[in-house]
């Protein structure tokens, strides 16, 4: 029951908050009321059973809490408060809240944090971990952003047409981060939180409908769909991750792939390539029967030219390994020293290159470092397993598994 309520919390929290903010115009009140409603759900659902429409139950309960609160606290006449009796969800509720959370008058880090908090329903601790900052720092960042929305009068609405293109970039960046939070969670037991990726895709679809002439919005949607298409093959029945090369391609979702590829072709035809479109194109190549690594490397060259970040350079190195071999790739990875000790993916890539270069002892150590840095338990188990496999190859004496690893 508690996992089911947690799942519903993840899926419905943002929607409920968005609806309540539209009605009451107060983020704090909306959040407190929705959280109260979930506390009530945890207490009552085990005996009552989960209601037919959990979201509707949460929204109604939260609304009643908010009205009670306003009656107690505010000088508003009770009649006015009570007038907010029947309300439902509007299709744009989440999108409005997204544009508020991603308002350019907020610092970029605050936009991301606020969207994950209000739309994603993540805890401050989870967001802090995802962005490698102490929890009090993140709590203060979120609290300041909410205060600014209230005090400066940042509107709760979808921007007018003239402002939309400017406001879109920030929204897309935030949506992609939400998707990634679902695809590769920063914490917890699961390898993927599908409701987060599903929510990111749902919002990306809304953005595409709202801005049909923006190729980057389509590019982002295509990218999400193509990554999501591999989800059924990404984990074993036991929940452990499976590498791309080892995945059972018959498990890939053909409908998502078809939709993603159609979107990639359509947006690239417009001749305004951007980072999301190129990343989508890379994933489209991966969705072919056999990955054409030369094409992937060429696309990464283009992506690196537009977006010269260490993360892009690291992913390009993976393609270089396939085309030119692990040696040249390792030299690229070793140059990205700023990622060492901070990004577990850097250690995973480096570990695998060392393994392929016949240096199993070093590879095992890298896998262990990666496991220490990995946020979710399944991935940690997987990485420690790979380290143990390599110990055998390196002739290392068997060592007992860490006590945190549950038995199979």
């Amino acid at each position: 029951m508690s996992t089911e309520i947690e799942r519903i919390f993840r899926a419905e929290y943002g929607r409920a908050v968005a609806v309540l903010i539209r009605y009451f115009g107060d983020i704090e009140l909306a959040e407190e009321a929705v959280q109260d409603a979930f506390v009530t759900a945890v207490r009552r659902w085990p005996e009552l059973g989960i209601p037919p429409s959990p979201a509707g139950w949460i929204i109604t309960t939260a609304r009643n809490r908010a009205i009670d609160h306003l009656r107690r606290e505010s000088e508003r006449p009770a009649r006015e408060v009570a007038a907010v009796v029947s309300f439902g969800e509007e299709p744009d509720d989440m999108l409005r809240l997204i544009f508020t959370c991603c308002h350019p008058a907020l610092a970029p880090a605050s936009r991301v944090a606020l969207t994950l908090r209000l739309i994603g329903g993540l805890t401050t601790a989870e967001i802090a971990r995802a962005f490698l900052v102490p929890e009090p720092t993140m709590a203060q960042r979120i609290s300041r952003a909410k205060s600014k929305i209230r005090d400066a009068g940042i509107p709760y609405r979808v921007p007018r047409d003239a402002d939309l293109p400017v406001r879109l970039g920030a929204v897309l960046a935030v949506l992609y981060l939400i998707f990634n939070e679902g695809y590769a969670p920063s914490g917890g037991e699961l390898v993927a939180r599908t409701e987060m990726t599903a929510e990111a895709i749902r919002l990306a679809r809304l953005v595409v409908v709202l801005m049909p002439d923006e190729p980057e919005a389509r590019g982002l949607l295509a990218l999400m769909l193509l990554i999501e298409s591999r989800r059924p093959a990404r984990t074993t029945a036991g929940g452990d991750p499976v590498l791309l090369a080892d995945q059972d391609r018959t498990l890939w979702d053909r409908d998502l792939i078809a939709e993603g590829r159609t979107l990639v072709r359509a947006c690239l035809r417009r001749g305004r390539p951007g980072p999301y479109q190129i990343q989508a194109a890379i994933n489209a190549v991966h969705s072919d029967g056999e990955t054409d690594w030369r094409q992937v490397r060429t696309l990464y060259d283009q992506l690196l030219a537009i977006t010269p970040t260490t993360v892009v350079a690291l992913h390009r190195a993976v393609a270089v390994a396939e085309v030119d071999g692990p040696g040249p790739a390792l030299r690229i990875v070793d140059d990205l020293t700023s990622m060492s000790g901070r990004h577990h993916v850097w250690h995973v890539v480096r570990a695998d290159l060392l393994r392929r270069l016949g240096r199993p002892a070093e590879a095992a150590e890298e896998f262990r470092t990666a496991a220490d840095l990995a946020g979710n338990a399944a991935e940690r188990r997987f990485l420690l397993g790979r380290a143990t496999d390599l110990d055998a190859a390196a002739g290392v004496r068997w060592r007992p598994p860490p006590t945190t690893t549950p038995p199979e």
Partner: protein
Amino acid sequence: MRQYLLSIYQPDGPPPPPEVLGPIMANLGKLNEEMKAGGTWVFAAGLHAPESATVIRDSGGEPVLTDGPFTEGKEHLGGFTVIQAEDLDEALDWGGRMAAVLAPLAIEVRPIQ
């Protein structure tokens, strides 16, 4: 309706020569007229140079005066406009237009309580 303070920050030192400043002030005047026509404009003022300012503090019931502005920096408050707007987006529209007229000066948009 909310009110916002649009502060104009400009570098210390003498103002630009009249042939530069003239068209800028004319455009600013036009913008103010547009604000007034739409009911946005509440109040506006240009300020004399910061050296003309006097800072006053109370010390045990006695005023203590200091010659010059409160903060010494490379930039100072040169003038301000108070507007009323529906929300921050509308205030930022006006602030953006003011910044375009006064480029490269920065405009601070700040909500009034």
